[in-house]
Subunit: 520 residues, 2 copies
Amino acid sequence: MTLEMHPQRWGDPAAAETLPENVHALVDSIVGTRPTPAVDDVALPPGGLHDEALDALRAAVGTDAISTDDDARRLRTRGKSTPDLLQARRGDLADAPDAVVRPRTHEDVAQVLRWATDHRVAVVPFGGGTCVTGGLAARRDGYAGLVSLDLVRLDSLLSVDQVSRTAVLQAGMRGPAAEAALAEHGLTLGHFPQSFEFASVGGFAATRSSGQASAGFGRFDDMVVGLRVATPIGDLELGSAPANAAGPDLREVVLGSEGSFGVITEVTVRVRPVAQETTYEAWSFPSFDAGADAMRHVVQAGLRPTVLRLSDETETMVNLASQKDIGGEGVTGCLMVVGFEGADVAAPRAAVTAVLTDSGGIPLGEERGRAWLAGRFHAPYLRDSLLDVGVLVETLETATFWSNRQRLYDAVRTALQAELGEKALVLCHVSHVYETGCSLYFTVAAPQAEEPLAQWRAAKAAASDAMIESGATITHHHAVGTDHRPWLAREIGPVGVAMLRGIKSSVDPAGVLNPGVMVP
Amino acid sequence: MTLEMHPQRWGDPAAAETLPENVHALVDSIVGTRPTPAVDDVALPPGGLHDEALDALRAAVGTDAISTDDDARRLRTRGKSTPDLLQARRGDLADAPDAVVRPRTHEDVAQVLRWATDHRVAVVPFGGGTCVTGGLAARRDGYAGLVSLDLVRLDSLLSVDQVSRTAVLQAGMRGPAAEAALAEHGLTLGHFPQSFEFASVGGFAATRSSGQASAGFGRFDDMVVGLRVATPIGDLELGSAPANAAGPDLREVVLGSEGSFGVITEVTVRVRPVAQETTYEAWSFPSFDAGADAMRHVVQAGLRPTVLRLSDETETMVNLASQKDIGGEGVTGCLMVVGFEGADVAAPRAAVTAVLTDSGGIPLGEERGRAWLAGRFHAPYLRDSLLDVGVLVETLETATFWSNRQRLYDAVRTALQAELGEKALVLCHVSHVYETGCSLYFTVAAPQAEEPLAQWRAAKAAASDAMIESGATITHHHAVGTDHRPWLAREIGPVGVAMLRGIKSSVDPAGVLNPGVMVP
């Protein structure tokens, strides 16, 4: 697997399967399909940085750290949202950076920020390029240029503390590399978002990522105990203790800052021993409501299976169609996947089984659970295949408290269906649970209109309005970027916005860090 | 029990016991004692607020919300650290507020902040007055006056959400009132710091309090899912979901802000059902090191007893002397208290027992565990009794990662013993544990010097230097106040300080909120 993704598609094209025939047939029958290939010939805008500025950058961090060639720039243009892909597929690379800088050290990163401040160049920190909220499309107006600061060379496990169970990871490590390096010490991070194969440790931190095993391992922000950050005004090192009362927790200010306050170069994370036993199983519930209540009972009983996710009726139907080796026989209602990993999974499994049975669940055995595990990083490839046949596919997600779940679900679903039309499929699952609430993750598939970008933006705006009007969050784990910025302002209000701007102007007085991203 | 504490002592004098004879004898034999009564006749400085400003305040929030009498002012002068008590005992009330304002509503609080901004009056938010780090001694220079904003009238449970298991508490509710109100719904917060009987919900949030049951219930900041805050530039309402990726978590900016960024008026907390079963027991370990390792094994195995605390050798010796109904027979080494509360405590107790036994622990049964539970809010009264006999008593606390625990313990202990002399008793316990580390809580008892305030400040500075030089935090749960401010600056560095100042100036441009507190 390569570290770099195709500029118009998700992931490694060699790893992409063709669209399974039964999924194609299903989508064709409901949504409709037609061949919709991407444009081949994609011209980049010329790089706009003056030679003088480029020479100064070369002097600061070395010539070999800087690329201005078309391939390097093309691969760091925007992220992997469906709007990003739609633009790339039609040949629009207007947001390409003028240059790509690949620093080798924390000090190099600090040098780049000093250079950017001196030359008034916008800097877009780049980890794995998996962003789906426009976080890599910074504003260029008013800047002398824009560089992509690719952290790919900061790729080492710096230290392991077996007693404290912590490890220091450089920010550019991708998910698989981090897990492989930790596994040599018998440890795991346990963070497996859908973007795992390409996304970086620094990106996990900067965007408050949450992985598929969040029920057992927690969100990425729960795992972070320390951070090293380069800012235009100097270095910031945080993490004197697991927790403290030494003022506001500034780690929680850096987490979610999306490159707007500084560039994260090292993350100290809590780690755990590699699991000795692993079991995945599936359950069926008569309705989404019944399944969600069962999840709530599990987590409010203090039980923490490693993975706990529930598909609604529509997603269950589509998932079964896409699991071609299983087929759809015998399952109606809603599918739940429950995973246990640890030194001994029998006791926690028995406790969860008791609660799920009491809550009306019917066990379906391990096969469907393992099928989910095997395919869990595959959905983004499926999206490319569907875009190829004229189907608009995208995801969006939110979270709320348990008592507000049904209202939020209805509001977002209604908004999406109203905007995208009767033929649109709207799927939903719960994949992150807390004692007090849960996430809701929506996937839509709709016939592409003439202007699919405008079509999606209208649907996204309607869904986002519904989230805010329901008192929920604009994003549980996809972060803010540029796409969610107007709704973030509504979510945190003018005083919250003032706080973010106060931090921004204090650490980045020239405003060169990811301008226009996150901070409303 | 009254809500207001004695101006020179902890808590309700009616609840204070006299010093137990065996403790007196023990302390006398090691440290030495002599009668050292407090001054009776305490004159207050005259109130300094102009009539015009007071009239405007009366117009804003009503005459009955404002007190300028000596009793009201005396009871809101500083907090309850030993330096605070030493100053009060010798008749120094120089930090008395000019007036005490007791708003009835959130809107009243907002009015007070507008008034303070207009009249350039410093505002010190006041909950229970239990602060031990100088957080109630704001700077007066450059202000037209200083008022204590006492939230005592914001004392209601506003709502309960049984499905989400959350409750909205007004900030002025004291610990016992909050628990009593929740108990009517079958719920508990589970937050029991030593200050529980007097401290307020708003104070818990503003100082990142951590209670004695933090192993099972988490710190107070773990319990907070929403906040309502009045700031000089407007209201801030946070808490759209249990967790999200919508930028930095601004709840974590308000938590620990100690009244410097706004006044917390409502806190939405996670609650749990009242425990059906409760068991407390004691264990003995051959050394502090062995006991701490056992604690680490418990928490790293994913086990969460409700209470888990371990005294070092010296504290164990003194504790047994003070548990006069138990006596010291048969226990050497280090005493651990383990508490279990829940629907069913047998299974978790068995799991913890297995780990503690494997780690070399010897069970001592339930009697000593229950004795700890019965006396757990009593220590501050004991401090007053010891100050009465010329013994300087104070506590300080820190936290670090497990691998750094022994180094931190040695460094702080050595610093305290060197400053306070050979006759000083230095006790320590671990009372808050995490997967990656723990707190260390020190208690000292030393012969009072001629200038006990200067004597303590030197010892405190030496201990604080040792914490920072050991890479630990200046405070695990006592907060920053004015006492820890210089060390906070060293802990978070100049970029961290710039962030705090950036937030402060954005939400409190006139600088009227608790000036000189927390923000370096």
